[in-house]
């Protein structure tokens, strides 16, 4: 993998290494196989020893300018050339360009009679000649153990093998020696005793009728290396090992937020949707609309002008496109514009690893910004939980490292265990949407929760999730005194609530009217009293004026009488 820098891992303290060029193997060996030393590759029949060894040579010759010699004990040159042609390796061309020598040593054990002391000098001559002829830097001996069955005197063979490995080291040849897997030992004849520097074990297992291949570095003297069992694949592109996790968790965390395609869902996710490059899990039981949400993600990405890869493990492309059209999503348009590509495959079609590698390959080729895996749970049918988990870890890491947003749907089998995904992957996910069946009043309704969403404030509320002809709508659920209600119950409850409100309002209005009337009656009374009072007041005033007038009249007449009578002492006059 060209993006990985090996110079850092090959410090002065580390062994000098030679890159294999095999995808993934250089990563887990942190730079390749030991340079100038033999490496033992052990495995059962058909485990891929020859494949690994030949690719080491072919890539060395083609990519790293290191010619190689393939010393074959089992297959003839013609067979090897023919076999590797099928995986796209043109050995013939390399042989013609003097970059590769394939030397087939045929040993017929029935033909050989041992009569006394011998050594394997002939083998050394042969190898030496081949190495010289192309200036080889790499050597493969496949598989040397045939010597043990060809010769009776194992003591000699052991001594000679020891000499052979020394011979290889002395000539600074980076070599792969293959060996047949033993029952209690790494190799049947204990080759690991001689090749002490680096031992790689290949294993083929059949689980649930599906073959999985695994690779483990048993030892690597003087170097750190990945300790796990790594699944590997042999396909039309040759050998590829899949590191279980990227060595470090150093993916770039984008601050960019992208819409889910459902405005109200964006609102629930801190108002802006999910982070670009994050992983989103949509889990729920059957028929909850997981794919619909996933399709919305895809549609939104296409609208933004991004590219989307949709891995469908349950439905065909045509089926998905048709189903989404019924809710107003036109995915076909994006397919036509080459923004959306479907990859539909039955999960049981091949092993988990092959699926993973296919996903890797397609993703690398299509370079999408968003990937949908629908559904994840179908992959669990072909592997064991641990395998699936490890595969997903690798997949998620891979997608994250590419900055690709990943949307996974997951079918939860049982209603009672909703907050547990079948493969236990939720911890790997950044955002987890749970679609839950809210059963009430003989109805199933969909409730949507945001169980978690790393790095953002997200809604803690349930939304009712309604799929209509025009797409997805998220509705607030009824959370009144009657509990959480959805669907028809919610509508009924809302209607009931509305009626109650009207009645209450009417009662209030009635009381208000009574009060009004009372106030008006009171006001009328006050007005009447006021009027009576005014009348009484008027009367009183009038009487008072008459009295005054009378009094004035009387006093003036008295003064007149006195003047007339000239009464004394009474006037001034």
């Amino acid at each position: 993998m060209s993006e990985v820098c090996f110079s850092e891992t090959c410090g002065p303290d580390q062994l000098p290494k030679v890159r294999t060029g095999i995808q993934g193997l250089d990563e887990i060996t942190q730079g390749g196989l030991p340079r100038g030393r033999p490496t033992l590759v052990a495995g059962g029949a058909g485990s891929g020893k020859t494949m690994l060894a030949m690719e080491f040579l072919a890539r060395g010759a083609a990519e790293f300018g290191e010619p190689g010699v393939f010393l074959a004990f089992e297959e003839s040159k013609e067979d090897l050339i023919q076999n590797f042609k099928s995986i796209g390796l043109d050995l013939e061309a390399l042989v013609e360009e003097k970059k590769l020598v394939i030397d087939y040593l045929h040993i017929d054990q029935n033909e050989i009679h041992e009569a006394g002391d011998f050594d394997l000098e002939g083998l050394f001559f042969r190898l030496g000649l081949a190495v010289e002829s192309v200036g080889a830097k790499r050597v493969v001996i496949d598989t040397i153990e045939i010597l043990f069955s060809a010769f009776e005197n194992h003591g000699i063979i052991r001594a000679e093998l020891q000499r052979l490995f020394r011979w290889l080291k002395d000539r600074n040849l980076s070599a792969i020696v293959t060996g047949e897997r033993g029952e209690n030992t790494i190799t049947r004849y204990g080759l690991e005793e001689y090749v002490a520097d680096c031992v790689i074990l290949l294993d083929t297992r059949i689980q649930n009728e599906v073959t999985t291949r695994r690779l483990r570095i048993v030892k690597y003297r003087g170097s750190t290396h990945g300790m796990d069992e790594y699944p590997f694949l042999i396909d039309s592109d040759g050998f590829s090992v899949l590191p279980i996790t990227s060595a470090t968790l150093e993916q770039i965390a984008s601050d960019e937020r992208i819409s889910t395609g459902i405005p109200r869902l964006d609102t629930m996710l801190g108002g802006e949707g999910v982070f670009r490059g994050s992983s989103v899990l949509i889990s729920g039981t059957a028929g909850m609309g997981k794919s619909t949400i996933a399709a919305n993600f895809a549609d939104a990405a296409c609208r933004r002008g991004e590219r989307v890869l949709y891995f469908a493990f349950e439905e065909s492309q045509a089926q998905i496109v048709r189903n989404m059209r019924s809710i107003g999503l036109d995915l076909e348009r994006w397919v036509r514009e080459c923004r959306l590509a479907f990859h539909a495959a039955r999960p049981t079609m091949c092993g988990l690893e092959l699926h993973l590698v296919n996903i890797h390959k397609v993703v690398r080729a299509f370079k999408p910004q968003l990937v949908v895996i629908d559904p994840l749970s179908n992959l669990t049918t072909i592997g064991e939980q641990q395998q699936v988990r490890s595969m997903l870890t690798r997949l998620i890491d891979f997608l994250k490292s590419q900055g690709i947003t990943a949307v996974f749907t997951d079918l939860t089998a049982a209603e009672f265990n909703l907050e547990r995904t079948d493969v236990g992957v939720s911890s790997l996910m950044d955002t987890w949407l749970l679609l839950r069946n809210l059963e009430h009043n003989g109805e199933r309704n969909r409730g949507l929760y945001v169980i978690k969403s790393r790095g953002m404030a997200h809604s803690n509320q349930i939304r009712e999730f309604v799929i209509t002809d025009s797409g997805i709508e998220l509705v607030d659920v009824y959370t009144g005194p009657g509990g959480v209600l959805t669907g028809a119950s919610r509508i009924a409850q809302e209607t009931r609530d509305r009626a109650e409100t009207i009645l209450r309002r009417q009662a209030v209005e009635a009381r208000q009217r009574v009060l009004d009337r009372k106030r008006r009656a009171l006001e009328a009374q006050i007005a009447l009293l006021n009027a009576e009072f005014e009348e009484a007041e008027d009367e009183a005033m009038r009487e008072l004026q008459q009295e005054e007038l009378l009094e004035e009249v009387q006093s003036s007449s008295t003064r007149e009488q006195a003047r007339r009578r000239k009464a004394d002492g009474l006037g001034e006059g």
């Binding site: 050989i112 009679h113 009569a115 006394g116 050594d119 000098e121 002939g122 001559f125 010597l147």
Partner: protein, 112 residues
């Protein structure tokens, strides 16, 4: 015709070369190593006893002609090849075990 020696020692069925049948033998060695020399000496002795006048030995020194190792698929040194009579026989080692050499060359059926 019959070797008096063989009649005395061998208990199993003897395979005596046909009169006039010629044996072509090739001995691959690597230089003048003690093992190479021993192999040649042992071969000479066996041939003179069992195939008097009916054999030829070609000695191929791989130190001088390493490319010749490929022709007869030589891995072990020394290797004796019986090219004629057919079928081809291959015997490896310094040929110190005479019984095994005789069996290997079809001069005796089985080791007693």
């Amino acid at each position: 015709m019959n070797n008096p020696d063989m009649q005395e020692t061998a208990k199993d069925e003897e395979f005596v070369p046909e009169p006039g049948e010629f044996w072509t033998l090739k001995l691959y060695v690597a230089g003048q190593s003690p093992r190479s020399l021993a192999a040649f000496a042992n071969l000479k002795k066996i041939c003179s006893e069992h195939l008097p006048g009916q054999y030829s030995i070609e000695v191929v020194d791989l130190l001088e002609h390493p490319q010749l190792a490929a022709g007869d698929q030589i891995i072990a040194i020394p290797t004796l090849i019986r090219n004629l009579p057919t079928p081809i026989r291959k015997i490896i080692g310094d040929l110190s075990n005479t019984d095994r050499v005789l069996v290997g060359l079809d001069l005796r059926k089985k080791i007693t």
